[in-house]
Symmetry: C2
Subunit: 306 residues, 2 copies
């Protein structure tokens, strides 16, 4: 039975590319039939990766069947996975996020988590010399995932290992990183076709802080003005999105990749309090700039206070 | 701040030796101060290991302090860990058991789980060439852990990797495996100083099966008669142990290491039903022999039915 390999819902570049990389490795190196699948439509940067490296777009699935073999990458959070995940036969997990708890397996499995910027970096370490057998598209997906998750090495999540592996892949592939990353970020910044609600949910994770449920959304872009020009309708849409998703509040951080700062939308006093308590800023209008903030994992979530 | 490295409560050989191995590695190879600790008195085989390899007995601790750095080995089950484990700063987990869920971390950490027989085998793989710098006692602890968890390669949990690593360690250390394992198992089989309740809790894990809570206890021994001669008082003690520990029933499997079989004590109709439904045997008395059964993980837990 073919193992389905997938990342999290609302797949970004790492959750689209890492399943492709790992399914290749399982099938061609370990000799275990595997296929990548997606838990939703890939974002615009992930779509660019597929197109640039001539990779087939994986099938999008809804739920998983009881007993079906699956391999989870880029998350260990049941809330970001199919509803029946704990009924599937989870064969392994590769991830670089905090341990959330909630996944259970019937027997011992392979789990590899490391505090690196990108799932693909961990895979590069596991695959080792066997990567020489990989087609160009697999190596290209690895490079794209690392540049995406590190925001071209700007994010504080970037480790020496992420950077060294990306540089060696770029050299081997004959890719100029600055040029290629600019294309990637331009693709990610093209949000014109998305509704406000889609933007708020695109790269979004739920966290409970002091009893309040927050949907913490991040939009990484090289063109923040395009998003911020829509701030009034985005703030109006937050009310509906929060209600529909059972959250108390959406927090939208618009990350300016090139200027290395985030702008937080401040629609009400709750978010004003969160901003001031969490980031030590004074809020005067309906947005506040947070200099240097680029990583939800490292610079936002650990500091959230109500 | 020194990182405390520990395994599970009621420490067996792997949960005593692996913290010693990993604290050595963290301190001497990674340059991070670490110390092994225990969550209870080591069993008789683990005590033999400490004595044979001239290893200091680690300090026994009760709970962990909020924010204290800890590294967990040989379990990922909060029920087998200090009460305040999720308030500690969990730095990493190395384990070879099924994923239970329940541990949470504030940020991404190092987690390495593999379906191998022994935690020390995973550590051997991670440590790699740096093991050449380890003192004899660290290598001896590794060998002892692997021989213990594999029951000298008899357990079906044994993998080629466990065996190959144990053989290479034995060669390097000049140890005759058959002789050494016989000493280990003799130490493990010396249960004369333990009360019935202590025996029932010594190597015991709780599992819920169809709504019933079982404390599944295993006693691995080369002298099953010594234990089975105490079966009446052991069965009487089961009632108290189950009540005190909030379980519905204790299941005691006496594993005969040399004859490669387990004897299950059958004190009542519930256990009779469990035995017949789970293992396809007919129970006529107050014990039943399960030929070939040596591993709780592989041959008991996955089959338990009520």
């Amino acid at each position: 039975m073919t193992t389905q390999v997938f990342g999290h819902k609302s797949p970004d570049t790492d959750s689209t590319g890492s399943p492709i990389i790992w399914a290749w490795y399982l099938t061609h190196i370990r000799g275990e039939a595997a296929t990548p699948v997606l838990l939703g439509e890939p974002n615009t940067e992930a779509a660019f990766m597929l197109s640039h490296w001539n990779l087939d777009k994986p099938e999008i699935i809804g739920d998983v069947a009881e007993g079906a073999p699956v391999f989870i990458v880029d998350t260990n959070n049941p809330a970001e996975l199919p509803a029946s995940i704990n009924k599937a036969d989870i064969r392994g997990i590769i991830d670089h996020h905090k341990l959330v708890g909630g996944l259970e397996t019937k027997g011992p499995i392979e789990i590899r988590m490391e505090p690196l910027a990108c799932t693909a970096t961990i895979m590069h370490k596991i695959i080792g010399d066997d990567l020489s057998q990989a087609p160009r598209g697999i190596k290209g997906a690895m490079l794209t995932c690392i540049l995406s998750d590190t925001l071209e090495f700007r994010s504080p999540t970037t480790t020496d290992e992420d950077k060294a592996i990306a540089l060696s892949l770029a050299t081997e592939l004959g890719i100029d990183i600055a040029t290629f990353a600019a294309e990637m970020f331009a693709a990610k910044s093209d949000v014109s076709s998305f509704s406000d609600a889609e933007l708020l949910r695109m790269d979004s994770k739920e966290y409970t802080v002091d009893g309040k449920e927050f949907r913490v959304s991040v939009l990484e872009t090289t063109a923040p003005k395009i998003v911020l020009d829509r701030k009034d309708s985005l703030m109006a849409s937050m009310v509906d999105v929060a209600a529909e998703d059972g959250a108390d509040q959406v927090l939208l951080f618009v990350v300016d990749i090139l200027n290395e700062e985030a702008t937080l939308l401040v629609p009400n006093d709750l978010v004003k309090t969160v901003a001031e308590k969490s980031f030590g800023v004074i809020v005067t209008g309906d947005t506040v700039v947070l200099p240097g903030v680029m990583s939800r994992k490292k610079q936002i979530i650990p500091f959230l206070k109500v």
